[in-house]
C-alpha cells in the first residue's frame, strides 16, 4: 500500500477535470457503471465530449453551478502505486480549500492553459505550493494541441515559472514541466507523438516514480502522546504505554529521550505495534512506546531524543491562511490546536497581508479576511512544543478554532 497524495488546483477551463478523467480512464480506474453515468449525463447536457467533472463534483450545488466548491478526493491506482488526488477549486474565493487539499499532499500539479500562459491563478497556486513547502510540483502545460504543439510556447511558459521560482524563498522545490493535451491524452499516460521535441516523461510515469517515503522530510523525531494505554489486566498489569505517531525521524529501543514539557529524562524500553514488539519505528508510524522509568506522561506531552528538543514557547510568529467569514483582527482570542495539544491564543499583532501574486505585502492591515494569507504574532495560554514549519511540517503547523462556533477558522505555519 504505497500511497502518494497529490493536490491539483485549477478551474474547469484549464482542463483539470479532463486531465483527472484521463488519468482515471487510462488507468482503467473508472468502472463501467460510473463511466456510463458520466456518458449519460454528458449527453443529457448536450456535450459532445465526456464531462469528467461529473465524476468528481459530488454535491448537488456543484453540479448545478458547474463549479467545484469543496475538496474532492479521487482514488486510482496502477500496478506500481496507489494515488489519492485532492482536487481543489482554483478560484480566489476558494483559497482555503486549496490550502486544505494541499496540506497533506506530497506532490502537486499546477495546470496552465498553453494559450493563456501564466495567469493570476497560476501565481496563487504556485504561492500556496511554496507556502506549504510542497517539494514536487508538476507544471502541466495543457492544451498544447491548441497552440500547434509549439515548443517555443512551452519554453516561454517554462521560463516565466522559473523566474517566479527564483523569487521564492523555498529553494528545495523540484519543478517538472510537462507539455500535454489531456483531451487527446498526449503525455498523460503515454508519450505524445505530436511533441517529439519533449524528451521527458509522461505524467503518470513521473508520478509513479515519486517515492512518498523519500519525500517526507527527515529531520528530528517528534512523538506527541495522543493517549496513555493502561490495560490493567493480569497479563499486562504494570503496562503503561504511550500511544502516538512519530513525525520527522525514527525512534528505537535504547534511545535516550526527554519528556516535554516536564524535561524528565528516560530511555525507550519497548516499541509495540499491536501484538508484536519492534526494535525501531520509522517516521510516520502509529505505535505505542514504553519507557524505562516510571515517569508522568499524559496527552499533549512529547517524547524527543536528548539534544533534539524543539522550541518551548508561549509566543508564536506565523503565517496564517484565514478560513472564516468573520475576519481575524488584533487582540482577538481563539482556541489553538497544535498537533494533539490545545491552548488559547490571542492575536497580539497582525503585521501584514501577503499578496499571493508575489507582489509583496500590505503592512499593518486592520483585518485578515476570508481566503487572505498574512503574518501574525500570537500569545499562548500555555507552553507549546514547536518547530518551524520548514523544519517539521507536522510540528510546525496549527489551526485556530472559534470558541463560539467551534469552527476551524484558520491554519498557521510557524516561522
Amino acid at each position: 500500500m504505497n500511497v502518494l497524495k497529490i493536490a491539483t488546483a485549477g478551474s474547469v477551463d484549464d482542463g483539470k477535470s479532463t486531465l483527472i478523467g484521463r488519468l482515471l480512464y487510462d488507468t482503467k480506474s473508472l468502472t463501467d457503471d460510473k463511466l456510463e453515468a458520466i456518458e449519460e449525463k454528458s449527453r443529457q447536457r448536450g456535450f459532445d465530449y465526456l464531462d469528467f467533472s461529473l465524476a468528481t463534483d459530488g454535491l448537488v450545488a456543484e453540479r448545478e453551478q458547474g463549479i467545484t466548491i469543496d475538496v474532492a478526493h479521487i482514488y486510482f491506482s496502477t500496478r506500481k502505486k496507489s494515488f489519492i488526488i485532492a482536487d481543489t477549486p482554483g478560484h480566489i474565493e476558494y483559497t482555503r480549500n486549496m490550502v486544505t487539499g494541499a496540506s497533506t499532499a506530497q506532490a502537486s500539479i499546477v495546470l496552465i492553459d498553453a494559450r493563456n500562459g501564466v495567469v493570476e491563478q497560476t501565481y496563487r497556486h504556485f504561492f500556496i505550493n511554496n507556502l506549504l513547502r510542497i517539494k514536487n510540483v508538476v507544471i502541466a502545460i495543457n492544451k498544447m494541441d491548441l497552440v500547434d504543439f509549439s515548443e517555443d510556447k512551452y519554453n516561454n511558459i517554462k521560463g516565466e515559472i522559473e523566474y517566479l521560482a527564483s523569487k521564492s524563498d523555498y529553494k528545495n522545490q523540484q519543478l517538472t514541466f510537462i507539455p500535454m493535451a489531456a483531451l487527446q491524452g498526449d503525455n498523460v499516460v503515454s508519450k505524445s507523438e505530436n511533441m517529439p521535441w519533449y524528451a521527458g516523461e509522461n505524467l503518470l510515469h513521473h508520478l509513479e516514480k515519486l517515492d512518498a517515503e523519500a519525500i517526507n522530510e527527515v529531520s528530528q523525531a517528534r512523538f506527541p502522546v495522543q493517549t496513555v494505554i493502561r490495560p490493567k489486566t493480569d497479563e499486562y498489569h504494570d503496562f503503561r504505554g504511550y500511544a502516538g505517531k512519530i513525525y520527522g525521524g525514527d525512534l528505537a529501543i535504547g534511545d535516550k529521550v526527554v519528556v516535554l514539557p516536564s524535561q524528565t529524562k528516560s530511555i525507550i524500553k519497548s516499541i509495540h505495534f499491536f501484538n508484536e514488539t519492534f526494535v525501531k519505528a520509522k517516521n510516520g508510524s502509529s505505535v505505542t512506546i514504553t519507557l524505562e522509568d516510571n515517569v508522568n506522561v499524559s496527552r499533549g506531552d512529547m517524547l524527543v531524543k536528548v539534544n533534539e528538543e524543539p522550541t518551548i514557547t508561549k509566543q508564536l510568529d506565523a503565517t496564517i491562511c484565514w478560513m472564516d467569514k468573520e475576519p481575524l483582527r488584533e487582540s482577538q482570542k481563539y482556541y489553538i490546536k497544535h498537533g494533539v495539544n490545545d491552548a488559547q491564543a490571542k492575536i497580539t499583532q497582525l503585521s501584514s497581508i501577503l499578496k499571493t501574486d508575489f507582489s509583496g505585502k500590505i503592512e499593518n492591515p486592520s483585518e485578515l479576511a476570508l481566503n487572505q494569507i498574512g503574518d501574525v504574532q500570537l500569545k499562548l495560554s500555555k507552553l507549546l512544543l514547536i518547530d518551524a514549519y520548514d523544519q517539521n511540517k507536522s510540528n510546525g503547523a496549527f489551526i485556530l478554532i472559534n470558541s463560539k462556533t467551534n469552527n476551524t477558522v484558520g491554519v498557521g505555519f510557524i516561522h
Binding site: 517515503e213 505517531k245 519492534f278
Partner: protein, 301 residues
C-alpha cells in the same frame, strides 16, 4: 524479541491515529458495526490502536431485521471473542410503534429507516462520536465527507459548511446535543480494504465468498431468492447461481455478483480486475444522482 524495524503503512497509521484522537477527544464514542467488511476492518484497526488494552468503546448494530443470517452469526462470534459490549437497536421497534412507515412494493427497503433508529440510539446513550466505515471512494457525495463530520441534533450533514481539515489535526469541538461521525478509513479504497483483510488474515462472513444461491434477476442485477425479505414478482424466475456479495447491507437492497472467488486471494484478484463499482450493486444509490447526499443530510451515516 523481534529484530525488525516497523514502518506502519500510511493508511493504517492514519486510521489508528484517528481512533486514538476519538478516544482522547470524546467522552462517549461508539463504533457502528454492521457485520460488513468495512466495519470488521474498523474493529481490527481499533484493536491495534489500543492493544494491549481492550477496545475502549462499545459496538452498536442498527439492525434492520433484514440481515443475512451469516452476518448476524459472525457478529455474535466476533463480539464474544473481543469481549466488547454490543448494543443492538432494531428498526422493527420503530415500525411497530408507528414512528416510521415501512416502504412497500418492488424496491421496498429498510435502509433509510435505519436513520431514525440510529438517531434515537445516539440520544438514548448520549453518544458524542459515532465511528463508521464509510469510505470516500464509495460514492461521490461521500468523497466530500470529512474525517470528523459534525452533525446537529437532527443528525443533519451541512455539506456546504464543513470544517476544513488540514494536516492531520482533527477538530472535535462540539456543542451539547451535537455529535460527530468519524470515518477512520475515509482514504481507503475497496481494494485497500480487501488487501488488508488478506494481509491480516481477518475472518469475514461467508457470503463475501462465492457460493451457490437461489437467485433471480431484476434490472440486470442478481437478487437472493432464498430469503423472505426480498420482494419478488411471481414471473421473476429463480435460478441457482454461483454468486458472492461485494457489500453486505440490508438484504432488500444488496444485490449479488456472479463470481468464482471462493477465497480471499481470488476475491482480491476479482476486485482488482472489476469493471463495476462496489455500490453499483446497491439499489439505494440508484434512486437518483443525489441519493446519497440527500440521505446524509437527513442523518444517514
Amino acid at each position: 524479541m523481534n529484530q525488525r524495524t516497523i514502518q506502519v503503512a500510511a493508511l493504517e497509521s492514519e486510521a489508528i491515529y484517528i481512533f486514538r484522537e476519538v478516544v482522547a477527544q470524546f467522552e462517549k464514542p461508539v463504533l457502528l458495526f454492521s457485520g460488513g467488511k468495512d466495519s470488521i476492518t474498523l474493529v481490527r484497526l481499533a484493536q491495534k490502536a489500543f492493544f494491549p488494552a481492550k477496545i475502549p468503546f462499545p459496538l452498536m448494530h442498527i439492525d434492520t431485521g433484514h440481515n443475512f443470517p451469516e452476518t448476524v452469526a459472525f457478529r455474535d462470534k466476533l463480539v464474544k471473542e473481543l469481549g466488547v459490549t454490543l448494543i443492538i437497536r432494531n428498526v422493527q421497534d420503530n415500525i411497530d410503534s408507528g414512528r416510521v412507515k415501512e416502504e412497500s412494493g418492488r424496491y421496498a427497503s429498510r435502509n433509510i429507516l435505519q436513520t431514525e433508529t440510529l438517531l434515537d440510539a445516539i440520544e438514548e446513550f448520549g453518544f458524542d462520536a459515532c465511528i463508521g466505515g464509510a469510505r470516500r471512494d464509495e460514492e461521490k457525495a461521500r468523497a466530500k465527507e470529512r474525517i470528523f463530520s459534525v452533525r446537529d441534533d437532527f443528525g443533519q450533514w451541512d455539506e456546504r459548511n464543513q470544517r476544513p481539515e488540514v494536516f492531520d489535526m482533527l477538530n472535535g469541538r462540539i456543542d451539547l446535543g451535537q455529535n460527530v461521525r468519524v470515518f477512520p478509513i475515509s482514504n481507503w479504497t475497496e481494494l485497500d480494504v480487501w488487501s488488508y483483510i488478506q494481509r491480516e488474515k481477518i475472518e469475514i462472513p461467508s457470503i463475501y465468498f462465492a457460493h451457490k444461491r437461489k437467485t433471480f434477476i431484476r434490472d440486470g442485477m442478481i437478487w437472493s431468492a432464498a430469503d423472505a425479505f426480498v420482494y419478488r414478482d411471481e414471473e421473476e424466475k429463480v435460478v441457482e447461481r454461483m454468486v458472492r456479495f461485494r457489500t453486505v447491507g440490508d438484504m432488500s437492497c444488496t444485490a449479488a455478483v456472479l463470481s468464482d472467488a471462493v477465497d480471499i486471494k481470488k476475491v482480491v484478484e476479482e476486485i482488482r480486475d472489476s469493471s463495476i463499482s462496489e455500490r453499483g450493486a446497491r439499489i439505494d444509490d440508484k434512486r437518483s444522482e443525489a441519493a446519497m447526499e440527500k440521505r446524509k443530510q437527513q442523518g444517514y451515516f
